[in-house]
């Protein structure tokens, strides 16, 4: 497997959807190609850091404010009929 082929398969590899043969080839490539190993490892960390981050959490007070605004508008919509959205 060449480095360019590794890159093509990287997303499938990280998502765990590679077929067995390609996975073996890819892992063999990673065992001797340090650059691709680093790219693979740091891409995985990138995903984990974003996934585990508390980025853009909805604060509870804003959350209940939004929810009650949504439900009030839904009830107004119900009263007015289906043309109002």
């Amino acid at each position: 497997m060449k480095c360019s082929e590794f890159l093509q398969e990287l997303t499938n590899y990280l998502d765990g959807v590679l077929d067995d043969n390609t996975k073996v080839e890819l892992e063999n490539h990673l065992s001797w190609c340090h650059n691709c190993y680093v790219v693979c490892d740091t891409t995985k960390k990138t995903i984990e850091i974003y996934r585990d981050s508390q980025l853009y959490e909805l604060p509870e007070d804003l959350r209940s404010r939004l929810r009650s605004a949504i439900m009030t508008k839904c009830q107004q919509h119900k009263k007015r009929g289906p043309q109002s959205v």
């Binding site: 890159l7 990287l10 997303t11 499938n12 590899y13 990280l14 998502d15 765990g16 650059n35 680093v38 790219v39 490892d41 740091t42 891409t43 995985k44 960390k45 990138t46 995903i47 984990e48 850091i49 974003y50 996934r51 585990d52 981050s53 508390q54 980025l55 853009y56 959490e57 909805l58 804003l62 959350r63 939004l66 929810r67 605004a69 949504i70 439900m71 508008k73 839904c74 009830q75 919509h77 119900k78 289906p82 109002s84 959205v85």
Partner: protein, 209 residues
Amino acid sequence: MSAIENKLAGPVSEELTLVQAAKRGDDSAFEELVRRYDRNVFRIAQHITQNREDAEDVVQEAFLKAYGNLAQFQEQSKFYTWLVRIAVNEALMKLRRRKPERTVSLDEDIKTEDDSLPREIADWSPNPEQLYSQSELGEILSKTIQGLPPGFRTVFVLRDVEGLSTEETAAALELSVPAVKSRLLRARLQLRERLGRFFQKRESGDGKQ
């Protein structure tokens, strides 16, 4: 090995029960759907719009549209995927309004094939997130993802932050599965490259890493 975990709570069958009750006019069931997905919709909206007020508007508008169009929801897909599609469209509309000089589309051309090829290979510190305080890290992650084109960051946030499957992401964005995979790869590689500036191993005194 899977780097992805689903951030959604509750099984699909419960979701369907709530949707059917809401369709029959049970507003408390709809409110439960709001409770279930409001955080997800807010996160997606803020990732796309990069603006807190716009994200708040998107949450309200997306749920209101879902409520108004519930009768048209066919129940062949998950309600959440359908809701995400509505929310993404609302969020993109906000972006277009704010940046009318720029075309904002999920179909925008990907500039060049080599755009996201790794140039910087240096390894990262073992625990990069510990190099910064929580708030510094949040700022770094937020600024870094802002630099991606909307079409890339939308795919990344749905797949890697919210944990939708490739097929669900394709359905929510009305893209093909290969288009989702290609954008996801580029998004991941571009984010990796940009985060490298903050997370790279520091050179030690003897010149070796």
